[in-house]
């Protein structure tokens, strides 16, 4: 840095610089810009698929946009709401918010203790002003007392400056709740953010598919998907077990919305902890099961064909329900079956399940209705190495066919097994047989725990109450001045000042003046009871 003339102001000391930065950060203008920035920063997360919202969509997007992906990844675009730049904005906003609340609370506390403000020297310059002369109701101090009484009745805070050389003023102010509401609103927002932070740091959420007749224990290994906050302890989840008796999925069978879902319901029993008694449950959409601080939701359903596989030696090597994941609203479902114990070679199967089988105009198999009215199972069979032995974890819903050979039929084309319940297909080359026994339904359950879930809610309700006060309480100042006038009369002046513009203070002023006049001229019968 070069010295450039004497006019240059002295450099800011670190302390001054700090104060300057703090003042900038907590200024209204900065808060406004940060708010707009927050809105802008939230946009990309709604357009690019998000890891925490739909990881499958992220995977699909990344395959479709290989060139864009590394850049988006670098910018944190696949998890915008956890990215450093998004966090930076809301943390700055939080600091700005607190930096605004604290001094304003102090100012407010002082204002609460202070007397209502002094009267301006000329009340007639106020937006609402009236004056009248009177000879009734005693002297100047009596007039002021009447005015004070009247203003108190209107819930003003009132302070009387008694007459000094004949002239006295009543000062009054109301609407203190406006600023209180404003402060409550902002403090509540901080509480909401704290609640959300606690919920996401200590909370967890997972998905599991449970077939009818089977159960689910709340341990990590039983989940298909599991996400937990940084401070949650997934190793010590509440040890409840759920046993699913029946999964019911009903669909509209007539009317304009044929095939639309009508009812989803999962029933069964739940045991809160080992050794405790079981109780019945009934989970429907919008009606979760609560157990041990954890909620169990029904988020989906589907079909699990019960399949028995015999290998070349005639031994049963696989038997039981195999969940097939629905791919569309008619419940065309896809699934795989891995049979590592089959001899002479491991078997893998991949195919789809149709709850009500049919064909479209082009002969492509489709499902005509989402309920299992006429189920069909279509499978391609592979032999070879399933790749399960090297210990690398695999999804049970996908088959890696790299090291597998598709089983071909007599015509040399891949053999498609098409089965209805009760049917058995023999595999070529003495590989064994596949039997489609029957159909079970499965429930997709979401298990989640959100600590302090009540805090954000309560915070928002309080925030809205504060907001209403800050928007609808209208602070007003009022002054009444009385001084002696000619012929023993008194001149009374009334002035109103609204600190927030409202439509028309003049009518209130008229009411006030009328009431004051009649209070000063009490009707004879109750003249004594002032």
């Amino acid at each position: 840095m070069e010295p450039d003339g004497p006019a240059r102001p002295p450099a800011l000391s670190p302390r001054e610089l700090g104060r300057w930065v703090w003042r900038q950060l907590t200024s209204m203008r900065t808060a406004l810009l940060l708010l707009l920035l927050l809105a802008l920063a939230a946009v990309p997360g709604s357009l690019v698929p998000q890891e925490g919202v739909d990881s499958l969509a992220v995977a699909r997007f990344q395959i479709e946009h290989p060139a864009l992906t590394p850049w988006l990844e670098r910018l944190g675009m696949f998890s915008v709401y956890a990215s450093p730049w998004f966090s930076a904005i809301y943390l700055l906003l939080l600091v700005s918010l607190i930096g605004c609340i604290v001094p304003r609370t102090a100012v407010y506390a002082r204002a609460l203790r202070a007397r209502p403000p002094r009267a301006p020297s000329r009340l007639d310059r106020l937006p609402a002003y009236a004056s009248f002369e009177t000879d009734a109701g005693g002297d100047v101090d009596d007039t002021l007392e009447q005015a004070a009484l009247m203003l108190r009745r209107r819930r003003f805070r009132v302070d009387v400056d008694p007459s000094d050389q004949g002239e006295g003023v009543v000062r009054a102010e109301r609407g203190y709740l406006r600023e209180a509401g404003n402060l409550v609103f902002h403090v509540s927002l901080v509480a909401v953010l704290v609640g959300v932070a606690v919920g996401s740091l200590w909370g967890y959420r997972g998905n599991a598919i449970v077939v009818e007749g089977r159960g689910f224990s709340n341990t990590l290994t039983q989940y298909d998907e599991f996400t937990a906050g940084a401070l949650a302890s997934p190793s010590s989840l509440p040890p409840f077990t759920v046993s699913l008796k029946q999964m019911t999925a009903d669909f509209q069978t007539s009317g304009p919305q044929v095939g639309q879902p009508k009812l989803f319901e999962a029933t069964g029993t739940v045991t809160a902890a080992p050794g405790e008694g079981a109780r019945d449950f009934d989970i429907r959409v919008n009606h979760p099961l609560e157990v041990d601080g954890t909620s169990v939701f029904l988020v989906g359903s589907g079909y699990a064909p019960v399949v028995t596989v015999r290998d070349g030696a005639g031994d049963v090597v696989s038997s039981g329900p195999v969940p097939f994941l629905p791919t569309d609203s008619s419940y065309v479902s896809e699934g795989v079956l891995k049979v590592p114990d089959a001899e002479p070679a491991q078997l893998g199967m991949e195919g789809f399940f149709l709850p009500t089988a049919g064909r479209d105009a082009d002969g492509v198999p489709i499902s005509l209705f989402p309920e299992a009215a006429d189920p069909a199972l279509s499978l391609f069979v592979y032999t070879g190495d399933l790749g399960l032995d090297d210990g690398a974890p695999q999804s049970v819903y996908s088959l890696n066919t790299d090291d597998l050979q598709v089983v071909k039929g007599d015509d040399g084309k891949p053999e498609r097994l098409l089965l209805q319940p009760g049917q058995t297909a023999e595999l070529p080359d003495g590989l064994g047989s596949v039997t489609f026994e029957t159909v079970a339904e499965f429930a997709r359950l979401q298990i989640s725990s959100t600590p302090l879930v009540w805090l954000p809610l309560t915070g928002l309700i309080v925030a809205v109450s504060g907001l209403l006060a800050s928007l609808y309480v209208r602070p007003r100042r009022a002054w009444v001045r009385a001084r002696p006038a000619q012929q023993g009369r008194r001149l009374v002046e009334v002035g109103l000042l609204d600190r927030v513009a409202r439509v028309d203070p003049s009518r209130d002023l008229d009411d006030l003046v009328t009431e004051l006049k009649s209070a000063l001229n009490p009707p004879p019968p109750k003249g004594a009871g002032r």
Partner: protein, 351 residues
């Protein structure tokens, strides 16, 4: 009457309401066209800006605790004209005993047709509810029709209370466009999907619709405020003739916009950040999941929060705030149209 007939009646109601509102819109456009020729002097409204501007300036000054200028405010006294005149509009014109101008006649025709259109729409929606055996808030078509109706009801309510006939062309035009586009999203009346089968549907959607209706009025007022503000800045004086002369003073329009938003914002907070998350907690097991619809509801909330802040921030009052109100409305519309049509998410059954 069977449900099929009710459903058809409902469709007929929506179609005829669209036509009636279309004619109302035309009537209001003719009103504006006629206003271009109208002589300014007769209208009591034309005198108003001169009276009011200084009053409000004084109030704003006082609110900002800057020293009051004095001169202009003192000359006004208690400003008796300001308040009652807010609701003056139609009534005072007739009382004046002067023949109605062409513009005023068309304005009245438009208003009557708007009332008729709103009644038809309400009847259609009720019929739709009975035809489907539920609240008529199950899909995008029904949300659009509901939204149009609520916007009309808020408008008509404020015509009665605050004399906002000057927003007529904007409101009727908007609802006609919404109803026209709603037909593109038409689905026959039917029962609810299980995900929507909750009383939170009623609470959540009703609140969102009411806030949305108010946002329409707020956006209309803000837009006209910007137009008139700019014209007056160019002219260097208040405009009292032509179409813009039919509008209230910029101060009045700004204040109306604020009052409407001050109503809409808490309602929106309730709809989007209280009722929505409660329902989401029951239905999806989390109260907030950054679903695209949630994201945009949040963006709308933040922008309108900025609007309220802007009104208390130096350099942002007036024009800046009005622009923010329009941006807020744009995000609201995008959430309804864009997110439903282009982005898949949990709200895929539309809003």
């Amino acid at each position: 009457m069977n449900t099929e007939a009710l459903a058809q009646l409902s469709n007929l109601g929506v179609a005829s309401a669209t036509v009636v509102l279309g004619v109302a819109w035309l009537a209001h456009l003719v009103e504006w066209a006629a206003a271009r020729e109208v002589r300014p002097a007769r209208r009591d409204r034309s005198a108003r800006p001169v009276v009011e501007t200084p009053v409000d300036a004084a109030l704003v000054d006082a609110a900002a605790t800057t020293p009051t200028g004095g001169g202009s405010a003192a000359s006004v006294g208690s400003a008796p004209a300001a308040g009652g005149a807010g609701g003056g509009g139609g009534g005072s014109r007739a009382v004046a005993g002067l023949p109605l101008s062409r513009a005023d006649r068309f304005g009245r025709v438009g208003l009557s047709l708007t009332v008729l259109g709103a009644a038809l729409l309400a009847a259609a929606l009720i019929a739709r509810g009975f035809a489907a055996g539920r609240v008529p808030w199950g899909n995008m078509y029904e949300f659009a029709v509901t939204g149009a109706l609520v916007a009309l009801l808020v408008y008509l309510g404020l015509v009665a209370r605050a004399g906002i006939e000057w927003l007529a062309p904007i409101v009727t035009g908007f609802t006609v466009v919404v109803l026209g586009l709603a037909i593109l999203a038409y689905v026959p009346a039917g029962p609810l999907v299980p995900a929507l089968d909750s009383y939170w549907l009623v609470v959540h959607v009703a609140a969102a619709a009411i806030a949305g209706g108010a946002f329409v009025i707020g956006a209309g007022a803000s837009a006209l405020f910007l137009v008139k503000q700019r014209a007056e800045q160019r002219a260097g004086q208040p405009i009292t003739t032509g179409v813009l002369g039919r509008l209230p003073s910029t101060v009045q329009m700004d204040r109306l916009a604020f009052q409407v938003h001050a109503f809409a914002f808490p309602v929106w907070t309730f709809a989007a950040l209280i009722a929505g998350p409660i329902w989401a907690q029951y239905a999806w097991g989390r109260y907030w999941g950054w679903d695209p619809k949630e994201v945009w509801a949040f963006i709308t909330w933040v922008v309108y929060a900025s609007y309220l802040h802007a009104r208390a921030t130096a350099g942002w009052r007036g024009t800046g705030a009005a622009v923010l109100a329009l941006i807020g409305f744009a995000t609201f519309l995008f959430n309804f149209v864009g997110i439903n049509l282009f982005v898949s998410g949990l709200h895929s059954y539309a809003f």
